[in-house]
């Protein structure tokens, strides 16, 4: 992993950008109205030395892939370019990029010195003939080159959309192999785009539903290692784990961190009844939050830590409820047709993502925190378990196909329901959990 990553503003003296032309600024408003992706060009970055040329090419490809993958941008491919960038400091020939209708242009340079890699980049508003924001420089170790590319793409995305990015992030998930009646599951972690997969457990025990800590340094998950489902917390860097201290004869599962990173909310089953509890990780002290004969599970904190959304069948079927983080009266928020489960509060606080089951189909959907404006984003034989991108604009989830050969894999979709895409994993995948943006 990259040990150091620093951003440095490129010297303003390097280029004095011409005054911004008075035409429409380079801007994407992410609303349901965005249909036509913005064309952009990212010519191969300029290597400072021949040794850096392959990395300079790869970094440009990762940036292009990140931006295109959002559905908000469309790359003008290299074979359509009529201009080239062979000197990072030379003035941009805007006419060459206007001619191929590239509205945004990303130029960059890559330097290598031993194991150190430096990436500089600038973003250009081609039709305004102006730089968008300031040039930036990232430095790190060579094995972190993809992260530097993702950081550049995050900066570009952020400058053009005005929203936070999500490319320099990771996903922890369950890697699946084998047929349905002999499924083997391992915890795995990867970059958000499926690169750099690492396995965190072997497949000797069933593992379920890993969840990142608010800083991405730890993962909570459920394992049958003891013969019974119990919650473990793993330090991702050290791959060290410990089991949470829950009573003998109980099952515990569905853990999720509070925003403070110290408290865990989870389900505990005793005598066939499942309720919500919370535990202080440092002291092991636990506290019961619900007390009902119904099933209470799949809890998720609001970003301010003040409330918990969860599912319960207290009304007779699975529905979504919100209660104060310390327990107490819960308010039902789902009232549409069918059953609702696996609610997850968005990092922006405005929406709840959920799984809906209706008339034999499964959907991923979002609703406001008062249950209004329900919107179904997907439909299939079996979609479940949404997780939010750090910017609250994209959701990843599990899709399982039907029948004896049924297979689980990861998909992403944006919150308007567009841009449904499979996420590349080496084997089957389920139960994704998206990390926050990395530092």
């Amino acid at each position: 992993m990259m040990r150091f990553l620093v951003a440095v503003l490129l010297g303003a003296a390097l280029l004095s950008a011409p005054a911004r032309a008075q035409n429409k600024p380079l801007r994407i408003e992410i609303t349901e109205g965005v249909i036509e992706p913005m064309p952009f060009a990212v010519p191969d970055f300029v290597p400072d030395s021949p040794a850096a040329s392959e990395m300079a090419r790869q970094i440009a490809r990762v940036i292009a892939s990140d931006l295109s993958g959002t559905g908000l941008f469309r790359e003008v491919p290299a074979d359509a370019h009529i201009g080239a960038v062979s000197d990072f400091s030379a003035p941009i020939q805007f006419a060459d990029w206007k001619a191929v209708n590239a509205q945004a242009l990303i130029t960059g340079a890559v330097g290598m010195s031993g194991d150190r890699v430096t990436v500089r980049f600038r973003v250009w508003d081609v039709f305004a003939g102006a730089e968008l924001g300031n040039g930036l420089q990232y430095a790190g170790t060579a094995d972190g080159w993809r992260r530097m590319a993702h950081k550049v793409a995050d900066a570009v995305y952020s400058r053009i959309t005005g929203e936070g990015g999500y490319f320099d992030s990771r996903v922890v998930f369950v890697s699946e192999t084998g047929p349905k009646d002999d499924r083997r599951k391992r915890l795995a972690i990867m970059d958000y785009d499926g690169a750099n997969v690492q396995y965190l457990t072997d497949s000797s025990s069933i593992v379920l539903a890993p969840r990142f800590s608010p800083t991405g340094d730890r993962v909570l998950y459920t394992s049958y290692e003891t013969g019974f489902p119990r919650i473990f917390v793993m330090d991702v860097g050290q791959v060290q784990r410990r089991v949470l201290n829950t009573p003998e004869g109980t099952m515990s599962f569905a853990p999720r961190f509070a925003p403070d990173g110290r408290t865990v909310v989870y389900s505990l089953t005793q005598g066939g009844n499942t309720d919500l509890y919370r535990m202080d990780l440092a002291t092991g002290h636990s506290e019961r939050l619900t007390s009902a004969p119904s099933i209470e599970t799949a809890p998720s904190y609001s970003p301010d830590g003040g409330r918990i959304v969860f599912e319960s069948d207290r009304s007779g079927t699975q529905q979504l409820y919100i209660m104060p983080a310390g327990g107490g009266e819960a308010t039902r928020i789902s009232f549409g047709q069918g059953r609702y489960g696996t609610p997850v509060w968005s990092p922006r606080g405005d929406l709840i993502a959920f799984t809906k089951q209706n008339k034999g189909r499964f959907h991923i959907g979002v609703m406001r925190t008062d249950g209004s404006e329900e919107r179904l984003l997907t439909a299939s034989f079996l979609d479940e378990g949404p997780t939010w991108a750090p910017n609250g604009r994209v959701i990843m989830f599990t899709r399982e196909t039907q029948g004896a050969g049924g297979r689980s894999s990861l998909y992403s979709v944006d919150i308007s329901g567009r841009n449904l895409l499979p996420v590349r994993t080496p084997d089957g995948g389920s139960d994704p959990s998206w990390s926050p943006l990395q530092d």
């Binding site: 379920l208 049958y224 066939g272 089951q357």
Partner: protein, 166 residues
């Protein structure tokens, strides 16, 4: 006895079952090493008899954990067997079909396992001999995506193990 010892013993029993069960009936896809099935089904005191002649599992309706009359008679016979064969304890595994979300199905499987356990206890089996676990939808025995398969997956399976602490 430690959990590890129990697992070793369960493994031995499973191996024994594999040797003695000419039919190859394998304990019904129970997760972990199914401890039942040892001995000859002709011997009423054998786990094989419990599994095959009495029936080690009961089935449930969609999203339900109520015991049908058929389930109750199976469990009645299980209870009588367990009362006669006090050297055995059991883990009751609850399962769900794939038509549900993962966490809910874990909780639903726990309800089913507990319903079976409570019935056995009500018929006189000591609660200390009966543990429960839920596998939710993680361990289907039938893999089609049709009701015929779902019906067999919505189950509670009583998996015996020899109780050396007795």
């Amino acid at each position: 006895m430690t959990y590890l010892n129990k697992m070793i013993l369960a493994g031995l029993l499973a191996a024994l079952a594999a040797c003695t069960n000419a039919t190859g009936y394998d304990g019904g896809g129970s997760a972990g090493a199914g401890g039942s099935g040892a001995g000859s089904a002709g011997d009423p005191a054998s786990p094989a008899y419990f599994q095959q002649a009495i029936g080690d599992r009961v089935l449930f309706a969609v999203d339900q954990s109520d015991l049908s009359s058929e389930a109750q008679s199976t469990l009645q016979a299980q209870a009588e067997w367990l009362m006669r064969n006090s050297d055995y304890s059991a883990v009751i595994e609850g399962h769900a079909d794939e038509q549900g979300t993962r966490e809910y199905n874990l909780a639903l499987g726990a309800r089913r396992a507990n319903a079976a356990r409570e019935f056995l206890v009500s018929r006189g089996v000591a609660g200390s001999r009966l543990k429960t676990v839920s596998y939710g939808k993680e361990r289907p025995i039938e893999i089609c995506s049709e009701e015929a398969c779902y019906a067999k997956n919505r189950r509670a399976v009583t998996v015996l193990s020899a109780d050396l602490t007795g």
